[in-house]
């Protein structure tokens, strides 16, 4: 169980000469829960953006299960198996909860349905729609959102919106899930709940998870390995305990 799912090689990007991310090398193994931490502006979200194709890296490249994904578009990368959530929640606010998840299911091969089939409402359309709904409900059940499925996404409380975003990402059936501050804005109880869910989906869906988080309790409770970023460069890397106790890391967080 030690095959490498995500591997980045010297990943870096610069904006107008300023290196936002530089020389990041990460290796994440299958079913690993991996943390990416660092102070504000350290370039964590930029790494996510690089891994999902929002930005194209200026230097370096990354591989998913040995396949090079650098240069692919966001859609292609998602199809290859990387899904993400966003730091500032990006739900489809004017759509109901279940439809948010249904959008995530859109590209699953078993739900393929030609637009013209839908336009004419051929039998396949109904079959697919029904199957998709069933599947979406299953996913919502994991996150305890099934009862809210007909609510508008924007009417959900904050914690549930975060969970819905994860559910939606999960619906795209990823191999690697990137969670950008999943516990932000949650109370301790919700955080505890979320940690359980994350472990559960890792096991149930055979997932590898890379997450950004500021809550160190959350990180140390969940992740076995982390990378600490500061000013775009890797400050420390390795076992969570070791990395967090690295003097450089403490300095970066607390200051001199």
């Amino acid at each position: 169980m030690s095959e490498v799912v995500l591997k980045t090689e010297n990943l870096g990007i610069s904006f107008g000469g300023l290196k936002a991310v530089d020389n990041v090398n990460i290796e994440i193994k299958r079913k690993q829960l991996y943390g990416l931490v660092g102070p504000n502006g350290a370039g964590k979200t930029t790494v996510f953006n690089l891994l999902t194709g929002v930005y194209q890296p200026t230097t370096g490249c990354f591989y998913l299960n040995g396949e090079k994904l650098t240069g692919k578009t966001q859609e292609q990368i998602n199809h290859k198996g990387i899904a993400r959530t966003f730091q500032n929640i990006r739900l489809f606010n004017n759509m109901s909860v279940i439809r948010n998840v249904l959008v995530g299911l859109h590209n699953q091969p078993e739900f393929k349905c030609n637009p013209f089939v839908s336009l004419l409402r051929l039998p396949r359309h109904f079959k697919v729609e029904k199957a998709m709904r069933e599947r979406a409900k299953e996913i919502l059940r994991i996150f305890d959102l099934e009862d809210e499925r007909n609510n508008l996404a924007c009417n959900l409380p904050y914690g549930k919106q975060r969970k819905l975003e994860i559910a939606r990402a999960l619906a795209t059936n990823p191999k690697l899930l990137l969670l950008d501050e999943p516990a932000a804005g949650m109370n301790p109880h919700e955080t505890e709940d979320l940690m359980n869910i994350i472990r559960r989906i890792r096991d149930e869906f055979d997932l590898t998870i890379l997450l950004i988080e500021h809550d160190m309790k959350f990180v140390s409770g969940l992740c076995d390995e982390i990378t600490v970023l500061n000013f775009g460069t890797v400050l420390a890397q390795g076992k969570t305990e070791d990395a967090l106790n690295d003097p450089e890391v403490i300095k970066a967080y607390i200051g001199e």
Binding site: E9, N10, I13, S14, F15, G16, G17, T52, V54, Y55, Q56, P57, T58, T59, G60, C61, T70, G71, T73, Q74, E75, N78, H79, A83, R84, F86, R90, L91, F92, N93, N94, M95, S96, R99, L102, V103, G104, L105, H106, N107, F111, C113, P115, S118, L119, L120, R121, H125, V128, E129, M132, E148, N150, N151, L152, N155, R168, A169, A171, T172
Partner: protein, 383 residues
Amino acid sequence: MAKLKRIKISDYFCYLIVGAVMIGSFIVAQTGNLPRSYSNLLVQVAYSIILAVSLNLVVGFLGELSLGHAGFMCVGAYMGSYLAMQLSAVVDNKLIVLIVSMLAGGLLAAFFGLLVGLPALRLKGDYLAIVTLAFGEIVRTIFKNMSVFGKAMGLSTQSIKYDTRQDTSLYLVSFATVLVVLFLVQNLVRSKHGRAITAIRDNEIAAKAMGINVTFYKLFVFVIAAFFAGMAGVIYGHYTTPVLYSFFSYNYSIEILVMVVLGGMASINGSIIAAALITFINFQLQSHLSGDLAALKYLIYALILIVLVIFNNAPKLAPIKDKVSPKAMFEKIRAHKRKPGDIRGDKSDWRVIPTKIRMDEVLSVDLQQGNDYTPDKPNKGGN
């Protein structure tokens, strides 16, 4: 789980009203009491509905502002009518000629839709709006100068025009077309593809991250909308003669947009009602305000427009509106029967639905370009 499908009336409301008007007018026509002006009004209503519903696909569902919808209609009207005239010399059946030319006109317009869709991939908001406007103007300028389409004299469609004295079936055909268009649009909107399209509207970045093929769907919507507008153009060509480029100006595109906005973004029923209403108001104003009073026509139209829009949208008037609105009262009666949090549907109130018409440009006075947000070019040798 109860598998019995609940039939929601609101889902079929549009078919009901369109069908009712169609059958109702047909019955009236059979008794010989349908005045020609009304059968002609019905044709106008029909092509307005097609235009408004198809534009709503672009503006309401995809969230891109298009000011060039009349351009697609123009393509359909010129090319489709021209084809119909050629066809009518060979084929005897008027209905077949109309249907074939409608499909052909639609396809040609769809091709232009593809052309307009391409910049839509790169441009946003107002920039896209002006490009669509520009497209509409370019199209009609080109048609204006083609001698095969009669240059500034327009394309005379006398030979295919329905003689409304003997043959009032055009409105029936048009309404049948409306039903087909509605069927297709409703199906699209209520399918997974419709969800993908609305997802792009709600949050393009998230939609991309979910693996939605944004390029495909944007082009798809533009093509479909253009196809329908082209069909509306062919109906127009059969309805009146000559097909004249001046009709398809951006003013007409805006009129279609007014229908969409008044009817409500992403509300097909609303588009139908607003299209019928505006066509009807225009018809009444034109019929009743003649001679010296004609100048009042636009005055009244403008006042209706301003008052309606302000009444519907002004944040400060919202409490007053909720009080007087019959639907709000109806809701109140139903409210206690319903569990809170059981609000159905995702169309919501259109006022809160944003379109990507981003009005977020900044007034800038500096000449240098801010490229702080553009990533540097990838280093080719780096991998």
